[in-house]
Symmetry: C2
Subunit: 204 residues, 2 copies
């Protein structure tokens, strides 16, 4: 059985969501952050030196990085291509792959900087300018790419696991008011039965 290592509060909820979409059984192991530093503690670092989650174990494989986990789960457990395009349609598959890399590759860093700046009294004009400009750029882009579709590729796919996380972080940072389509998208994702099931097990 797959084991999901989950650091509270953290991104593993979205990994659990995909596991639920795939109807896979998994064991959940929870870890808590140091309340002062908000970082992970030795218990999670004994599982993996970076002390980050999600981490999954599947037999002898221990795997980190959310979208690498997504890619692995698709390859091993979505052989009917219910949640990802088949590689034979290589251009569609390449665009799907792009959506798996885009959150961390481009969209997440300014949201992280914004989150860190919001948590502190420090300010940095350079970083504020960078993050606020980039956040607008990316939210505009995602909303345009979503267009009038329910999900990023039209039908629900594993790409939505990645993008909904970014939109959720933007929502937490109070950036979504000018983006009604993205708010509706986030609600649509969170209303899925699999997300609700994951949320009952994995406290974010």
């Amino acid at each position: 059985m797959i084991t999901l290592h989950h650091l509270r509060i953290g991104r593993s909820l979205f990994c659990a969501w995909l596991l639920e979409e795939l109807h896979l059984e998994y064991e959940l192991k929870e870890y808590f952050r140091n309340p002062k530093t908000f970082r992970s503690q030795d218990d999670l670092k004994s599982v993996h030196p970076l002390g980050k989650s999600p981490i999954i174990e599947d037999g002898s494989l221990m795997l980190t990085e959310s979208s690498a986990i997504t890619t692995y789960l698709m390859e091993k457990y979505d052989s009917e291509n219910e949640f990802h395009p088949c590689r034979e349609k290589i251009n569609t598959w390449a665009k799907y792959t792009q959506w798996l890399h885009y959150p961390e590759g481009s969209a997440f860093a300014p949201l992280l900087i914004d989150m860190l700046l919001q948590r502190t009294k420090d300010s940095s004009q350079r970083l504020n300018e960078f993050s606020s400009g980039e956040i607008v750029l990316h939210l505009n882009y995602i909303q345009e790419e979503l267009d009038n579709n329910d999900y990023m590729l039209g039908n629900f796919s594993a790409a939505d696991i990645s993008i909904a996380y970014v939109i959720g972080v933007a929502d937490t940072g109070k950036h979504l008011a000018p983006y009604p389509k993205l708010l509706e998208y986030l609600t649509r994702c969170k209303n899925r039965a699999a997300f609700q099931k994951a949320k009952l097990r994995v406290v974010e």
Copy 2:
């Protein structure tokens, strides 16, 4: 023929490096940053709304995100698995996929914050603490994972395109002095004939 859109100074050199490893022909289109803001300008934004590079065009496909481009190039042009593990060895392939996601997923954000802080007189204790702690964590991790191997997976692979970029950014930020193995690794990567060829065409 593949077109590589390259914003100077930027990451596209590493995409060109992979194209050279694969002995693929490509047309290079260069763009320049606004000298004041150091951001891309309207010419690149007319190619792609995010105005970031690398971007490749291959027939009707336009693709962004460095590691998504790597994944696509491997799927389409590395059918003999010279530069990436075959999917049938799923655990090895999963770890390789993890290395493609790890730079942007974990290692790059603190280096970006550090770079932005080094470029300005602003300071943020919270961000400085975050970036300096994370940079040490990741460089230690990569050096341990590299172990005594020449390359991340033992032999050279597309994973090195991702990791060498991160190590290069760490080098630019003057973080590599305590990591002799990573310095040697970076030199080894940059001494490859394909990297040298790419560098002659793509001015970083």
